[in-house]
Amino acid sequence: MDKIKRGQHKESFLNGILKENPLLVQILGLCPALAVTKSLETAFGMGLLFTFVLVSSNVIVSLLRKLIPEEIKTPCYIVVIATFVTIVKMFAEAFLPELYSSLGVFLSLLVVNCIVLGRSEAFAGQNGVFDSFLDGCGNGIGYTWAISLMGIIREVLGLGTLTIGKVFNFFGDPLVLPILKSTTLDSNGNPLYDFSISIFQNPAGAFIVLGLMLATMAAITNHKKAVEKAKEKAAKEAAKAELAAKAALAGGAK
């Protein structure tokens, strides 16, 4: 009993990226979004691992959806998710030790992430494997870009520099981009210019950045809605005017 018909695969992929973005529109998964966005790379790494957990748990849940009795489906989902989180933890500990230590306990907390559990309940438990896979990818990418953006904002404003290649250190030395803070030092040992605001590295800064991002998203949505409404209204009025004109013409002809 698949709810999605053919030709709607694209929609189940694209929905999660912008229209129903898990962080910015559905406002889920706030804890990791606030905690791991001190820098772009940890945020991006978290997004990648999150996407892997989401996609694999979605696929397994939708494969098992006819086997799991309705009554105990939530416990089953929890066990499936916990298994994949354990796998991801071991993978990160072995191959990305820097990322593992900077994410800390938040990697384990993926088990109780509202998005993963919510997608299993709301989508993968009722839809086919391919759609669930696409849904997982879409939501994962949506979440990843949202927290990466947050990571960029917090790192640039808070530290003044943007570091690339420190956590994913496969390419030699990390690249440090001086944006608000110079990397060259003057004769006193101070940076040439420094406009960074360190509060953005603190928890308070995380709350502010996320709050403003959500507000921006809400403002865009509201604006779109208002434009659509105005268009509809204009179309209705035009139709009315046309009708009136026709009636007037008909009246005149009489």
Binding site: I27, L28, L30, C31, L34, A35, P75, I78, V79, A82, T83, V85, T86, K89, M90, G104, V105, S108, L109, V111, V112, C114, L117, I199, N202, P203, A204, G205, A206, F207, I208, L210, G211, L212, L214, A215, T216, A218, A219, N222
Partner: protein, 195 residues
């Protein structure tokens, strides 16, 4: 005597300096989701306190006396989530059977406790940083009291914000996050209180 002092200091530091919500970011979902009723915030906080303490008590021996000797400490997350989820179900069952009035205020928040990161966060930190039993207890107690205090304060503030004229886009979660940011700044003042 020294032990008691360090125990109390650990509680205070987990409660105020490393506050669960405002600096460790556990349990934001319930923090934002519980809305602006002080009474329900209080009962939610109490329920979370109870579950955190029980989970700490159960998970500590499970990790150090069952998983570690068996050589499978990596299965800790799976075990913890099973313990926490069963605890929440048992507590819920108890409330359902015995106290309708408590069920009325708490009933709809019960599923939120399982997915509250604070519970799993505390238990996981205890085993990740290999804390001893007393510090684990202090962590649990401090975290849950900190959660209770912050969630009640936050509900009070949001109750007062009810009639204010907030820009349309800021309504709801965004303004709540900004309020939380101000609270976090206030709590930063506790930093350095315990050496």
């Amino acid at each position: 005597m020294e032990m008691i002092v360090s125990f109390i200091l650990a509680i205070v530091s987990y409660m105020l300096i490393d506050n669960v919500v405002l600096s460790r970011f556990y349990g934001i979902c319930s923090f934002i989701g519980v809305g602006n009723k002080v009474k329900s915030a209080f009962s939610m906080g109490l329920a979370v306190t109870f579950v955190i303490m029980m989970a700490t008590l159960v998970c500590y021996p499970l990790y150090f006396y069952v998983l570690v000797p068996a050589g499978i400490p990596f299965l800790d997350t799976l075990v913890y989530i099973l313990v926490i989820a069963s605890l929440v179900q048992i507590v819920g069952l108890f409330i359902k059977k015995t106290s309708p009035s408590l069920y009325k205020t708490l009933g709809i928040y019960l599923p939120l406790i399982t997915t509250n990161c604070a519970v799993l966060g505390v238990v996981q930190t205890n085993s990740d940083s290999q804390l001893d039993f007393l510090t684990s207890l202090a962590n649990g107690l401090g975290t849950s009291i900190g959660f209770l205090v912050v969630i009640v304060l936050f509900a009070c503030m949001r109750e007062r914000m009810n009639g204010y004229n907030i820009p349309k886009a800021m309504k709801g979660v965004p303004i709540a996050l900004i309020v939380a940011a101000l609270m976090a700044m206030a709590f930063m003042g506790f930093g350095g209180m315990v050496g």
